[in-house]
Amino acid sequence: MTQSVVIQVGQCGNQIGCCFWDLALREHAAVNQKAIYDEAISSFFRNVDTRVVGDGGSISKGKICSLKARAVLIDMEEGVVNEILQGPLRDVFDSKQLITDISGSGNNWAVGHKVFGSLYQEQILEKLRKSAEHCDCLQCFFIIHSMGGGTGSGLGTFLLKVLEDEFPEVYRFVTSIYPSGEDDVITSPYNSMLAMKELNEHADCVLPIDNQSLFDIISKIDLMVNSGKLGTAIKPKSLVTSSAGAFKKRQEKPFDAMNNIVANLLLNLTSSARFEGSLNMDLNEISMNLVPFPQLHYLVSSLTPLYTLADVNIPSRRLDQMFSDAFSKDHQLIRADPKHSLYLACALMVRGNVQISDLRRNIERLKPSLRFVSWNQEGWKTSLCSVPPVGHSHSLLALANNTCVKPTFIELRERFTRLYRKRAHLHHYLQIEGMEESCFTEALSSLSALIQEYNQLDATKSMPAEELPRLSVAV
């Protein structure tokens, strides 16, 4: 079994990360009733004897003593990290796993990437190496950050190059929060554009997410619960609401619920690697199956169900509904329309009491309404994990490599161009050492090249599938 390290960068990254660790602990507590430190839990947690001073405390088997998250927390302001360290999760984090500063990046990618990057490079490397040393077999880094700010965006992407150089064999999965249209950070187009170039070049897989979609999902759940529809009730222990009280406070703290969705995404993504099932899917299989060309590694994710129904014995029809929902725009974590775009590949990761026949039946049913690229007409990757998420009897995570991400990138390019044309706020960036106009123009051409690749694939949509002549051989 392999281990993964989570690197949470910036305010957004750390808030989401915090939700993730909370949910991960709950999930493992629910599954691992005897509190034995097993391989599943070791994928994200170390078992430490806290009485031992220094580094020697790791315990590899037996009863759980004290769990420490395999995480590195990075923020150039102290607020969020301090809050975490004073909150209920304070014992889960090792104080040596943090890198903080006080001044913040001022929503400036250049400050995050160039200034803090060089300032903290050594420290970052040291923390990463320590985390890696604590792993038997490190398979994956999960980076969580936002694109629109300064730290998550700049320092977060600086990290990618460092990881690529230092740990070339370890996968880099990036969960990126893209700015919504109504973003209040004026320079977010610059930050996102500059970060995109780094994601293009140094990430293995990117899961783009936007706040608006998360907000819409939460609103939908609220509607369902408040309308008092028969049979729909959020189970208090469900992971969508991480603690019983949080649900009521929804109106005041929408971000908590939104972050929980992203945390759920990461849990479901890794469930088949951590837990048993009749058709396992490891993390390296995600990249192998869903990334047909190195550049095209942006995956649209959708999660169902986001609410549980009161009755537990869900008849087949409801199960099929889960599959239909996964392909509905309402359940996606990014605004996009995959049904009207072209699928390059699609992964269905199912958890719970679902068998291969259910999976096959639904693929057959949904296939006709989806358009797959001509050379990958049966582009499905499937997995069955027996362990359902806490509070649900089954769940489905769909990851699609689909040209529907193109509009997001085109919109980003447009917002960038609007600002850049007027050279608005540019001086904040150019005054940073190491920044030149070429950084911007290169980032722009990198994104344009990516959009062009998607365009070329989209152009094949309307063409009939060619029967290519096969090799003719002499017998």
Binding site: T2, I363, N376, G379, T382
Partner: protein, 400 residues
């Protein structure tokens, strides 16, 4: 005469368990429908072939379990131990921490050489426990990374190290509508490599077995366990002891035919020549057919239909192409059962489909970078395509 089984990857290990379980259950079945002495001879033969014995009498499967990540092997070992009736050897498994990522190149070029010595040593130990080795039975899937890539590598090694022993590979053909996106690449690489080192490829298509579960057995929610159990039942009905014309059970080594198609056992009926007709071919022409009859009235079964020359290619006499093995001992509580193992054109269509899809994908160069990363180049793909096109052409020509 013993057979050493090598179970590779998730699929191989999950199926392997069901196979040993089916073999054990059948051999200890009380309703043998034959004399006590016959039953004992059957049991002893099965035991020697597939199990070795431990001090306290619990039979140990003659198997080596290989997987590149630990979850499935752990499950398989504990399932066997829990049954209390038979188990796997304590030191018969080889496991790593990180899987092959559905990447044939990784299984073949990285895991293979890296773990060659350990795996071959395990196999050697198992071979040494046999009084006389009949051959190897390798269970693997084509679609993934370990079963397919490492499986191809191990089979090659077995060819080098045990060239006098028979190697039969049980291959699982994946669902047509995708389990793994790169399954067609992995399949063509596996098949082309196995053609050069294996003696026989026994094929089971997931789609076909799924249909059996749905239509013949009426299972509503079909799980992989159901599928694997049907498979194990079929394999059991082929591998359990029988008497052939030439004496005790032994494999036939067919120099030409490499694809053997297993049909569902027609339980409860005396044998009938049930050939399913492929719509594009007028006949499903065979090179070799083997019928195995078990249970009541085996000696009076009418097998004339199998000797019809129309079934066979023009350059073969039915008498050379058709064999029967029989035993009065019933299989798995079925009063009468029959199995047909066939080397015929039946697999041409599925093979052609897989090659076609892989070719289409190859033309766009999609996913190729994942393979070249680990040393499988475009030329290797082209070699595989060439070889498989030749196989398809050879089989098609049988009809003329």
């Amino acid at each position: 005469m013993s057979i050493v089984t090598v179970q590779l990857g998730q699929c191989g290990n999950q199926i392997g368990f069901e196979v040993f379980d089916a073999l054990f259950s059948d051999s200890h079945c009380p309703q043998g429908l034959c004399s006590k002495r016959e039953n004992e001879a059957y049991q002893a033969s099965c035991k020697e072939r597939f199990f070795s014995e431990e001090e306290n009498g619990v039979p140990i499967a003659r198997a080596v379990l290989v997987d590149m990540e630990p979850k499935v092997i752990n499950q398989t070992l504990s399932k066997a131990a829990h049954s209390g009736r038979w188990k796997y050897g304590q030191h018969s498994c080889f496991c790593q921490k990180q899987g092959s990522g559905n990447n044939w190149a990784y299984g073949y070029s990285v895991h293979g050489p890296r773990h060659e010595e350990s795996i071959m040593n395990l196999i050697q130990k198992e071979v040494e426990k046999c009084d006389s080795l009949n051959g190897f039975f390798i269970i693997m899937s084509m679609a993934g990374g370990t079963g397919s890539g490492l499986g191809a590598f191990v089979t090659q090694n077995l060819q080098d190290q045990y060239s006098n022993s028979l190697k039969m590979n049980q291959i699982i053909w994946p669902y047509g509508t995708g389990e793994v996106i790169v399954q067609n690449y992995n399949s063509i690489l596996t098949l082309s490599h196995l053609y050069q080192s294996s003696d026989a490829l026994l094929v089971h298509e997931n789609d076909a077995v799924h249909k059996i579960c749905a239509k013949l057995m009426n299972i509503k929610q079909i799980s992989f366990r159901d599928i694997n159990q049907v498979l194990a039942h079929q394999l059991g009905s082929v591998f359990q002891p029988t008497y052939s014309g030439e004496g005790s059970f032994h494999y036939r080594r067919n120099p030409l035919g490499i694809d053997w198609q297993v049909r569902p056992p027609l339980s409860g009926l005396p044998t009938r020549g049930k050939m399913s007709l492929n719509k594009e071919f007028h006949f499903n022409t065979s090179i070799a057919n083997l019928v195995i009859l078990r249970g009541k009235d085996v000696h009076s079964a009418e097998l004339g239909a199998f000797k019809d020359p129309a079934l066979y290619t023009s350059w073969l006499e039915p008498v050379h192409a058709f064999s029967v093995w029989k035993t009065q001992r019933a299989f798995s509580k079925y009063e009468k059962s029959a199995a047909l193992v066939s080397n015929s054109q039946f697999l041409v269509k599925p093979l052609d489909t897989i090659v076609g899809k892989a070719w289409n994908m190859f033309a766009s160069k999609a996913y190729i970078h994942q393979y070249t990363k680990f040393g499988i180049e475009e030329e290797d793909f082209l070699d595989s395509f060439t070889l498989l096109e030749q196989v398809i052409a050879s089989y098609c020509n049988l009809g003329f």
